[in-house]
Symmetry: C2
DNA sequence: ATAGGGACATAAAGCGTTTTAGCAGGCGTA
DNA sequence: TACGCCTGCTAAAACGCTTTATGTCCCTAT
């Protein structure tokens, strides 16, 4: 009992006019007699005609669709970005195809391939943590497919990007801890190969250096983003011969389990150890104690990725303008570092 | 400088064979000479041929795509569900088109329409909190489009569903509070028209009744899912002439701000007030105090929605089997109620 | 020698649109 | 009367693939 949907042909037949007339009438093109148009629209309404987007895409060779690839929608940062991206794209008449990589390089490749086959007109991508080789992205660029990277980008590939100044932000966070009295500051970083993480580590070290505090790499611990691992790394950090009195973490996602572990260990925050983090998730304000964090303008970043992408998609002439947007961050100070 | 992608026709031409032969060769159909097949595959590889999914969908009149509509991916429950849905669908050779309603009825309708136009073969939907009229869903059912609802369903429409026994779960949570000594228990519910919320309220009231504790509707407060509102409603609840010594909340999303508000008010958890909630987000274990919560088997629920949907999609014969899966919940007891 | 059949290949129709080129017919102008 | 020009419409090709019906060739069994 497959009921075939109404097509433009059905309408044409029952009105005794040609297919193309129906098509033009529906799309509001000129050179159609008002009476004809009216009849078509009325019948379409009555039959609940829904244009077949697939056929339309094929005929026009454009899908008005963009592909978004993110590591993981369970992370607040990415789901909030997607929200903003979807919103902005929708307003511009584009729809969004999403793929989650779960931090896997292979999945990233598969998703890109599938989306290519689905004829997306461009990509918005935040690289998986596994991704060290960016040949797959470079290939897109070579094929002239518009690509915008955000947050997790990589060096050496020439695409538009929407990012923050990780070095500066980490510098700011670290300096804040120093100024509030910390003298031995640890860093709970992300995976070793993650550019973004390394930039933040560098910013952290620069701040220490500026204030004459000997850093030492042994106060940097790398976490993957699981809770268990974060707890482990935190305990390792807090068990060093000289216990840190301040900790910067790569993300709130790491800070939560870190603070949990510290409290379990009997440490008071901020009295014994101050904590500052990245991302400023909504929950951070509710934590005990409320967590200081670097705020990124997610809403605006989402809008900007779409804007940059559409600019490329809609630039019919060859030289696609590659741009980098560095967004402003803001340090939100709460009880965890006060 | 639009570079047109390689098509089957290009391959056919340069190999001096027909289009259909190429098509069959690529798809591994029989009745192709091994040499021919080999030549085709080799050339396809060399040219990095990517089949045009849009054309394929049109030709076969099937897109192998399902539409997923959820209120909000920023909520852990939904992003985790999507994760599981996407995973399962992918394994079955389907891809997923997602739409977020942001709890808006209008957006829900728009998304359904757009996805229909994109020829999705079925829908997995969790209704928006604004949705009281379900005519749009009923229409899908009438058109014989497979639909599976989960979590946020509605009564009176005949679709497959994947849900939990909200009444029983709330009963269990409430009884747990009673058994651990609470005598005056409040409920921070969801929006008034939300079926799921009302079922939980009913379960809560049934538990009170069973234990001879006079409920009284004035101990039920309705929250939307914003933090500010949850804080407000919590303060209202905790300022009643007789202060509750136990609170059940509709979701961890509400429990976090609620506990925050309680602590701000100087109440100790669990000494002064015990809290139990729904959803068991990963963060709940890290909160201070760790939050007791009803656990839903999200992974399994996602798999089940897809299974039910595919069963309908692949049932070519008319009588689509409508099924309801009621999943097991589990009360995870942590310090907030101990 | 001929029919039957298997192996391989092809032409052509079809999926539901858009889009281009063209065609009647009416009207005003020369 | 003829010409050109609008207005409203249509036929047909195209988009890139699948699928069905149809061939051709060659081999084997009668």
């Amino acid at each position: 009992m497959k009921n075939t949907p109404v097509t433009i042909k059905d309408i044409a037949r029952s009105l005794n006019i040609s297919i193309s007339t129906v098509s033009r009438a529906l799309r509001g093109l000129p050179e159609i007699h008002p009476d004809t148009r009216h009849a078509v629209l009325e019948l379409a309404e009555e039959l609940d005609y829904q244009p077949n987007q697939v056929a339309k895409s094929l005929a026009q060779s454009q899908t008005k669709t963009i592909g978004v690839i993110v590591p993981n929608l369970s992370a607040y940062f990415f789901s909030a970005m997607l929200n903003s991206i979807e919103e902005t794209a929708l307003q511009a008449g584009y729809s969004v195809l999403v793929g989650q990589t779960n931090e896997s390089y292979l999945r990233e490749i598969t998703h890109i391939q599938n989306l290519m086959r689905s004829q997306v007109e461009g990509f918005i991508i935040s690289l998986s943590q596994d991704t060290s080789n960016c040949e797959h992205i470079a290939r897109l660029v070579r094929k002239n497919i518009p690509v915008v990277l955000f947050d997790r980008y990589a060096e050496g590939i020439d695409t538009s990007k929407v990012i923050v100044d990780n070095h500066a932000a980490a510098f700011k966070a670290t300096e804040h801890l120093i100024e509030s009295g910390c003298r031995l500051i640890g860093f709970l970083a992300g995976p070793e190969q993650l550019l973004l993480s390394n930039q933040r580590v560098a910013g952290y070290q620069a701040a220490l250096q500026k204030h004459g505090l000997e850093p030492g790499d042994d106060y940097v611990f790398h976490c993957n983003y699981t809770q268990e691992n974060a707890v482990m790394q935190t305990l390792a950090l807090m068990s060093l011969p000289q216990q840190p009195d301040g900790v910067v973490t790569i993300s709130d996602r790491v800070a939560y389990p870190a603070m949990y572990a510290m409290k379990q260990k009997g440490l008071r925050i901020p009295e014994d150890v101050r904590v500052v983090s990245f991302n400023n998730e909504p929950l951070s304000a509710l934590f005990s104690p409320p967590l200081s964090s670097i705020h990124q303008p997610i809403q605006e970043m989402g809008r900007e990725t779409v804007r940059l992408l559409l600019k490329q998609i809609e630039a019919t002439d060859s030289p696609t303008p590659v741009e980098t947007r560095i967004m402003e961050t803001q340090l939100i100070i709460r009880a965890s570092s006060r």
